[in-house]
Amino acid sequence: MINSILRFGLILILLVLLQVLMFNNIQFSGYVNPYIYLMFIMLLPVEIPAWFLLLLSFGTGMLIDIFSGTPGMHSSATVLAGLVRPFVLRSISPHDGYEPGAHPSMLVYGFRWFLLYTIVMVFIHHTALFYIEVFRLTDFFRTLLRVLLSSLFTILFVLIIEFYRKGR
């Protein structure tokens, strides 16, 4: 228990630092803003209680909000991601279901499963995030393009990080 708290604390700190120090500073046109901190929500244990997941999502989003000066923006999108995560996990569950105490990971459930999981989660989170950011529906398709491009890069970076985790 303590072990896993420490472990996820470390993951959270690493991801937030990566996000704030590196990815928030990628200024590669306004279309690509990868938000890899979402990975923290994705990696939490499968059986985590829903309410706790929501609170953690809110906290994580708020942390990013504080660092990027956008109160409420990341929190609202991440809480949404926290809400849909159980449904996503259930709908893509492997044939024999999840073992007790399982973590979503590429090592256990394979590359294709993890890729699908990442795509769905990142897309939901980014769609909410970018539409909340502009807060209007004019330029709908341009925002959609930003969602798609940013999701692509986030997915790429999440997979790279997951590969690195797997290698260890």
């Binding site: 928030n24 306004g30 309410w51 929501l54 999502s57 000066g69 929190s75 809480v79």
Partner: protein, 273 residues
């Protein structure tokens, strides 16, 4: 009672979700968050250390560029000193100078954080109320428009970048004086859109766009950029694409401009209304 408990039991995660989203959207919708000095104060203190380090590294890496800009600005200032000195000898100009002179005061500040990749970009600068900054002061970088201060704490200020969907600037075509409203469309960090210029006016590619000074925030004649494209949509007005003078990606040092007669100006306008 029992069914209520059952209901809570069943939907507790949905209820927590709604509460948390409520908090998030409340924070989001209080758009005047940046005007709230206390919040700016606490949050900026919290993140200041890290942002300061990033900004230090960044400005170190672009020292060459900054030096070039400073040298160019020095040359320009030296030229204008020479012009003014010569003008001072002429009786007429010095008279008209005292009439049209606007009392603008400049102070230099450094950026501690910046962004160009959002739709609503803000940046933080390292001067605040202690240095005499208040809301609604103009921010200028290398003689080009950069933004407006929207919130100050004791030592820091947050400025709304020109690259913000909410930013509006009254600006005009230098050659003929027709003015319109300049805003950013959220696409390219080097380009903004000037609208409300009637179609009977001649617009040329390469025309300079400058501020009008109607808002009492920006001094008159600060350069915004040059016209690189214009089109005539269905309405009576042009849609002019302006190449911005300021490169927001390389923003390190800015000048904050205080208009000393702003209160007088606004008081008068309020009296009339």
């Amino acid at each position: 009672m029992r069914s209520l408990l059952n209901f809570l039991e069943r939907y507790h995660s949905l209820i927590i979700f709604l509460i948390l989203e409520g908090i998030a959207f409340y924070l989001l919708s209080t758009r005047n968050y940046y005007h709230n000095t206390r919040v700016v104060n606490s949050i900026r203190w919290f993140t200041y250390g890290i942002e300061e380090k990033i900004s230090n590294t960044r400005s170190y890496l672009s020292l060459r560029q900054i030096n070039e800009n400073l040298a160019a600005e020095n040359t320009a200032l030296r030229n204008s000193i020479n012009r003014l000195v010569r003008n001072d000898n002429s009786l007429f100009v010095s008279v008209s100078d005292t009439i049209y002179q606007q009392l603008y005061q400049y102070t230099t500040a450094r950026l501690t954080s910046n962004s160009v990749n959002k739709q609503k970009n803000f940046y933080t600068i390292n001067k605040g109320t202690r240095h005499g900054l208040t809301r609604d002061m103009a921010v200028i970088a290398d003689g080009g428009v950069a933004g407006v201060i929207v919130g100050c704490s004791e030592n820091f200020s947050v400025a709304m970048s020109l690259l913000n969907l909410d930013f509006r600037l009254s600006s005009r075509i230098k050659s003929n004086g027709y003015f319109g409203s300049l805003s950013w469309d959220g696409r390219d960090y080097r380009k903004a859109i000037l609208s409300d210029i009637p179609q009977h006016v001649t617009v040329n590619i390469g025309d300079t766009i400058e501020t009008t000074g109607y808002s009492a925030i920006f001094p008159e004649g600060v350069i915004v950029g040059t016209v690189i494209d214009y089109e005539k949509p269905g309405s009576d007005f042009y849609l002019i694409t302006v190449q911005l003078k300021t490169d927001f990606r390389k923003l390190h040092f800015v000048d904050v401009v205080a208009n000393k007669r702003k209160n007088e100006f606004i008081d008068l306008e309020n009296q009339i209304q």
